[in-house]
């Protein structure tokens, strides 16, 4: 039987980790770490899990220990946030390139400077080319559900890639919500046992991880990583289907809301997508044909599927909680990626980027309604006067 609990995002993820009972968790236990690792360490101390819990002296070491444990054949999880993820950067690539199915939650928070502890997506967006699968979650329930699915996605023999589960710092990580926690046995059955095909401790089938690989085979290994990422999309959907059959909630590559008959739409991920639904409802009540697309899977980027969902529109606005400094018009990563896809697949829909919420700046429904009004104007005139604008900033 499921149980409903009052948990914040970190507590919900810690519950998922308790149920998954990974072989190894290696983590840097203090700031910028979140309560995920603190709560999980209590489960370790209370004997609720069998996990080998390794506290290390830095996030670089945390991911290094995860890499070693995963190569040895263990099911490995960790958690980080903000500067912690940035400090892991070198080893993020090592984990992905060695095809190690590590599952890590990253609570999306801003990077310094100036010093800021609040939400934006700069941290994980900076790691978007590291070879990890990126799954964004709107609330604590999605974070819990997604961590459970992430284990299956990462360990699938067609994938074998690390997965980052992403949710908004403070907004989701520290807000208490009603969360459905599944029966322990059902979660254990769903994630199953991890039986790695290749592991360092399998002495009968010796393997080498991460040796020198100069001009002779490095390129081929990178090419294989591309194949793994290509396979990931189908596996993500298959695991979501099985999850829906087992637990009842349906997930996809993205979620749409009142999009089919919409004339303009906003594309925004994570917690802000929920706030945007309220704005959609309000404007719909006034007769405006507005809709929403909430990306869930950012890596691998579901370009064709998103274009298919958006190509009937008269204007699309992307809301980015990060800036790709020096990119075209200093736009955000989500906009750049989607704009390219819309062009390549001939969607021909005018688009604009709306950067918001950096460093935790709050975003409320009235501001999102303002974005919709800009999009309705673009739809009417067919002209985009500002490719990138900023919502809620003092100019």
């Amino acid at each position: 039987m499921s149980e409903f609990k009052a948990l914040d995002g970190t507590g919900a993820v810690a519950e998922a980790m308790r149920q998954i009972n990974p072989d190894v968790v290696a983590a840097y236990p203090i700031t910028p770490q979140t309560a995920i690792v603190q709560t999980f360490s209590e489960f370790v101390a209370d004997g609720l899990v069998d996990t080998e819990f390794i506290t290390v002296e830095s996030e670089h070491s945390a991911m290094s220990a995860c890499v070693g444990a995963s190569a040895a054949g263990a099911r490995v999880m960790t958690a980080t946030s903000s500067a912690g993820l940035a400090f892991m950067w070198e080893i993020l690539y090592v984990a992905a390139s060695n095809r190690l199915p590590i599952v890590m939650t990253n609570v999306n928070r801003a990077l310094s400077a100036p010093i800021n502890i609040h939400c934006d997506h700069s941290d994980s967006m900076g790691a978007r080319d590291a070879g990890w699968i990126h799954l964004f979650c709107e609330n604590a329930q999605e974070a819990y559900d997604t961590v459970i699915q992430a284990v299956r996605i990462a360990e699938h023999p067609d994938v074998l890639l690390p997965v980052m589960v992403l949710f908004d710092g403070f907004i989701t990580s520290h807000a208490e919500e009603r969360v459905e926690i599944f029966d322990d046995a059902k979660v254990k059955a769903f994630v199953g046992e991890y039986k790695p095909k290749h592991s360092l401790l399998d002495l009968d089938h010796p393997v080498t991880y991460g040796p020198l690989d100069f001009t002779d085979y490095y390129f081929e290994h990178k090419r294989q990583q591309v194949e793994a990422m290509r396979h990931a999309q189908k596996v993500i959907l298959d695991v979501a289907d099985e999850f829906a059959k087992t637990f009842g909630r349906k997930y996809g590559l993205f979620e749409t809301y009142r999009l089919d008959d919409a004339e303009v739409a906003i594309v925004v991920s994570s917690s802000t997508a929920g706030t945007a639904r309220a704005a959609v409802d309000k404007l719909r009540a006034q007769g405006a044909k507005v809709g929403l697309l909430k990306p869930r899977v950012f890596r691998p980027f579901p370009a064709q599927e998103m274009v298919a969902a958006l190509q009937h529109l008269k204007a699309v606005g992307v809301m980015d909680r990060a800036i790709s400094f020096g990119s075209m018009s200093n736009a955000g990563p989500l906009f750049l990626e989607l704009a390219a896809a819309m062009k390549i697949y001939d969607a021909g829909v005018p688009m604009a980027d709306f950067v918001f919420g950096l460093g935790g700046r709050d975003i409320v429904p009235s501001q999102i309604e303002g974005v919709f009004r800009s999009l309705l104007q673009i739809a009417e005139t067919g002209r985009v006067s500002e490719l990138v604008s900023y919502v809620g900033v003092r100019e």
Partner: protein, 191 residues
């Protein structure tokens, strides 16, 4: 309840506004409702003005932003009235509940508030008499549920007992908090 109820808490660091918001949310959980409870995070300093927020609804809560137009405002510390605009955004038919020895009419006068419903309770005195310390979150919870009718007072009593016991608080302290809740529920006045 057929709609979303949004509560904004004003307190000072150390008075337990965040905990009060969470106890209220957990009462919502027991009632089978959806909820959100979250603080406004900033530098956490004892005595500095802080806000916390609670949303309660019979539907899943989609909003993930701060509360701009609360249905209910709770002021845990009377000295905030002169320094923080506690009625900002309060809905015209909203409820203001203040910890003060003043009457509701005096608070209306002080804040020049002509709309909504105003409740007062001397939670500081109740806290001092029951807990021996001016931590006003539990009595204010009692006054809040009485004033709003959101939940039964005994539901909050039960939630507080569970939460505080789980946090390994001594039994006499837990009971003192429960006395504070019940007394505030009896003493809260509308005007």
């Amino acid at each position: 309840m057929s709609k979303l109820v949004e509560v904004r808490w004003h307190g000072r660091g150390g008075q337990g506004a965040v905990t009060a918001g969470k106890v209220l949310a957990e009462a919502a959980l027991d009632a089978g409702l959806y909820f959100q409870a979250f603080p406004e995070y900033g530098p956490e300093r004892m005595g500095a003005p802080i806000q916390a927020f609670t949303r309660i609804s019979d539907h899943p809560v989609d909003l993930h932003c701060q509360i701009e137009e609360p249905d209910v405002v709770v002021v845990l510390d009377p000295t905030l009235l002169g320094t923080v605009n506690v009625t900002e955004g309060l809905k015209p038919d909203g409820i203001l509940l203040v910890n003060t020895s003043a009457s509701p009419a005096e608070i209306r006068e002080q804040l020049n508030l002509r709309t909504g419903r105003v409740f007062t309770v001397d939670a500081s005195r109740i806290a001092l008499e029951t807990l021996g310390r001016e931590i006003t979150n539990t009595p204010m919870l009692g006054a809040l549920v009485k004033a709003t009718g959101l939940f039964e007072v005994e539901a909050i009593v039960e939630q507080t007992r569970q939460r505080f016991t789980k946090k390994h608080m001594k039994a006499d302290i837990v009971e003192a908090n429960i006395t504070a809740i019940r007394r505030a529920a009896e003493e809260v006045k509308e005007g």
